[in-house]
């Protein structure tokens, strides 16, 4: 292992020491890259660097950047109970996405991957929640959860009991949000799985059937392993999506009651932008950015390298 790394570094070293001589192709490539590079630098890199620098200041957003405070914003953030709560909520969303939404999507994908009468109807039905704008979906669920007029209350009434005001109860509100998360996003994963399932060669499945494999055995021993790359991709999407979760929260709960449903991004919005505490908000942004980058790179390196 150590030997291999040393060799690699050695290779890099010799390459770096070669005199710089651009071939015709490289020069052309550089000229073509230049506009994109300029755009990327001015529109992505510079604003990010600026936001990162704000995180070391106490600044209300008006006028010039305020007072340099070093790491104070980060200290405040890590010692803030609402921040911990938001982090925990993001973790909950990831867990529920992976343990509930993805298996559900996989199961439904297996059911509707084959062509039968009415299959496109079912696919559409399952996919509709994903098409819906997040804000619209949030508002719709706000009505559904309403303790007085909501459908949830109506259904509970049919079974002879009263449902609590889900979104008004800080112990329950997050679970209500999680249910919406599953409902909203399983359709996307289902469509990705269907595409994956359809790319499995027919012969393999036929061979399994001829060998006498049961439906369950085929699923576990043939389909799931062959779907590896697709599953890893959907897990990746779920985690990144969960970390950025915001649009649904705002119309649904706004992070309340009493900050019980804040996520990292809604926390950034409520405690950075709304409270005109741009420096603090930037610190949260930097944290979120680092989490996303570290996750994205390590995940792709470790689990998706061969895909």
């Amino acid at each position: 292992m150590a030997m291999a790394i040393a060799e690699k570094i050695g290779a890099l070293y010799t390459r770096a020491n070669k005199p710089l001589r651009l071939s015709r192709g490289t020069t052309t490539a550089l000229i073509f890259i230049l506009p994109a590079l300029l755009l990327f630098t001015t529109l992505v890199i510079l604003p990010m660097a600026e936001a990162a620098s704000f995180s070391f200041y106490e600044w209300g957003g008006y006028g010039d950047v305020g007072q340099f405070v070093g790491l104070k914003n980060y200290q405040r953030m890590f010692s803030h109970p609402v921040f911990s709560r938001a982090l925990f909520n993001n973790f909950l969303i990831i867990v529920v996405s992976i343990l509930v939404a993805l298996p559900l999507a996989f199961l439904l994908a297996v059911l509707v991957a084959d062509k039968f009468k009415g299959v496109s109807f079912f696919r559409a039905i399952f996919f509709i929640p994903y098409i819906l704008a997040d804000v619209a979906a949030g508002l719709i669920w706000r009505f559904l959860y309403d303790g007085q007029y909501g459908v949830v209350q109506f259904v509970a009434g049919l079974f002879g009991f009263t449902a609590p005001y889900l979104l008004a109860d800080r112990d329950l509100a997050m679970y209500a949000v999680l249910a919406v998360v599953v409902w909203k996003y399983f359709g996307l994963h289902m469509i990705i799985y269907i595409a994956g399932l359809q790319s499995i060669p027919r012969e393999v499945l036929e061979a399994a059937r001829i060998d006498g494999a049961s439906w369950w055995d085929t699923l576990i021993r043939v389909i799931v392993p062959m779907m590896g790359p697709t599953i890893r991709l959907t897990v990746f999407f779920s985690i990144i999506g969960s970390l950025q979760f915001f649009d649904l929260i705002m119309p649904l709960t706004g992070g309340g009651p009493q900050n019980s449903t804040q996520t990292l991004v809604s926390y950034l919005y409520n405690f950075g932008i709304v409270r005109l505490n741009i420096g603090f908000g930037s610190a949260v942004g930097v944290f979120l950015f680092l989490v996303c980058v570290v996750f994205a790179f390590s995940y792709r390196r470790l689990l998706m390298a061969k895909d």
């Binding site: 008006y62 006028g63 303790g147 979104l167 008004a168 800080r170 009651p257 709304v274 409270r275 005109l276």
Partner: protein, 421 residues
């Protein structure tokens, strides 16, 4: 085409271009407002058109932003090239921050005595920072209890008993005994429950103690008078007088609840009167059953408090705003226009003799109350920076839910205030 006629065509074309650019060389004044009421917006437009008719070289452009969106977007807008010239302000802590950030125009030189006295000079105080005037007060509001006469009769409540806090507490008990929800509350946004705390603090501490706390004097918000205000709110909350699910209810939901006759009281600003009808299921609201009483006196607080509570709003100016922008607001705040705004746009201005000009008897009552007030306190939360403002709302909510005692709440508020200074 001969070369001569080509030349003529070119000449006339360039002449046309020149005149076109001369016509568009108007001075544009961008005016950002947060008004949702179409009647009020119509009056705004009429005032703008009136000014443009007098000054053809000025073009007033109205832009609407929703309340919360406006607050969040304003700092960015003021950094950009399309910064508005005239925009809405609640005075207080955010105004002070804007002044500190150097984004506002000091209009002290333009505000002469004639202008100052045409509106109430004291109202200009809400837009004065370190002796410099930054805004023009054009609107004031009053917070009080709306109530449902029918539900009160049903519970056997004598309206004369509502002058005192203990009378109000007894009324809550009676309503609950009659199976009626005593109060509607839009708890999600936080500021409606803060009205209870603020008005109680006015009755127990008064504006002098608030100003002392804001100046960092004495015990600040740990003063027993503020602890008492939190305690009275905790006592009321212990009766759980709000509708079920109040924590997730928006202000609009609370207007609907009250307007539908499903809750007996609503502590809100005078602006809510129309909304309790428009938000109700029938669209009619309570009609003749709608009543109003002033926030009760607290027997254990300041004796016979004459202070009232409500907002003071005005127009402030971006640092690069032109003289035309200031001149337009001067025109806007003329007696004639402010009366028109009050009668047709439901915005009462802090103007001497306003009550006499109002046609609607209820609006007249509101204006008279404010005029008779010993001190009209601006909203507590806007007196702070935006950060302490939101912290205060969270603290008040935690008292209402019973998660903080009165002492803890007062301590948390003082800590939050100290932290931001």
């Amino acid at each position: 085409m001969s070369s001569l006629s080509k030349f003529r065509l070119a000449l006339s074309l360039s002449a046309a271009l020149l005149t076109a650019s001369a016509a568009s060389a108007q001075e544009v004044v961008n005016w950002v407002h947060i008004e949702q009421n179409p009647d009020t917006v119509r009056v705004f437009e009429e005032i703008a058109a009136g000014y443009e008719a007098l000054h053809p070289d000025v073009d007033i452009k109205l832009q609407y932003l929703e309340n919360e969106a406006y607050k969040a977007r304003l700092p960015t807008m003021l950094q950009s090239n399309d910064a508005p010239d005239i925009f809405y302000s609640w005075g207080g802590g955010v105004l002070a921050e804007q002044v500190k950030g150097g984004v506002l125009r000091d209009i002290s030189a333009s505000v002469d005595d004639a202008w100052k006295t045409s509106i109430a000079p004291s109202a200009f105080g809400a837009f004065t920072v370190d002796g410099k005037i930054y805004g023009v007060p054009v609107r004031t509001s009053l917070v009080g209890f709306f109530y449902n006469k029918k539900l009160f009769a049903q519970a056997g409540i004598d309206e004369a008993s509502l002058g005192t806090w203990s009378g109000l507490m007894a009324a809550v008990d009676k309503l609950e005994a009659a199976g009626i929800t005593p109060m509607a509350l839009g708890g999600q946004e936080g500021w409606p429950q803060h009205f209870y705390f603020s008005y109680l603090a006015i009755r127990t501490a008064g504006h002098e103690k608030l100003n002392a706390a804001l100046a960092g004097e004495g015990e600040g918000f740990r003063d027993p008078a503020f602890v008492q205000a939190f305690q009275l709110l905790a006592d009321l909350s212990a009766k759980n007088p709000w509708q079920e699910g109040w924590q997730a209810a928006t202000t609009g939901d609370s207007y609907a609840k009250f307007g539908n006759g499903e809750a007996a009281m609503l502590l809100q600003g005078d602006w809510a009167r129309a909304s309790t009808a428009t938000e109700s299921a029938s669209g009619q609201g309570l009609g003749d059953d709608l009543g109003w009483f002033a926030f009760p006196q607290v027997e254990t607080g300041i004796v016979d408090s004459k202070e009232t509570f409500g907002g003071v709003n005005g127009w402030i100016f971006f640092k690069d705003a032109s003289d035309a922008a200031v001149d337009f607001v001067r025109y806007y705040s003329s007696r004639e226009n402010l009366i028109k705004l009050a009668n047709e746009g439901y915005q009462i201005a802090p103007m001497p003799g306003m009550a006499d000009e109002l046609k609607d008897t209820w609006q007249k009552m509101v204006a008279q109350t404010i005029e008779a007030s010993a001190f009209h306190q601006n909203f507590y939360n806007v007196m702070f920076s935006e950060e302490v403002n939101r912290e205060l709302l969270d603290i008040v909510t935690s008292v209402v839910t019973g998660d903080r005692t009165a002492e803890e709440a007062a301590d948390a508020l003082q800590t939050a205030w100290e932290f931001s200074h």
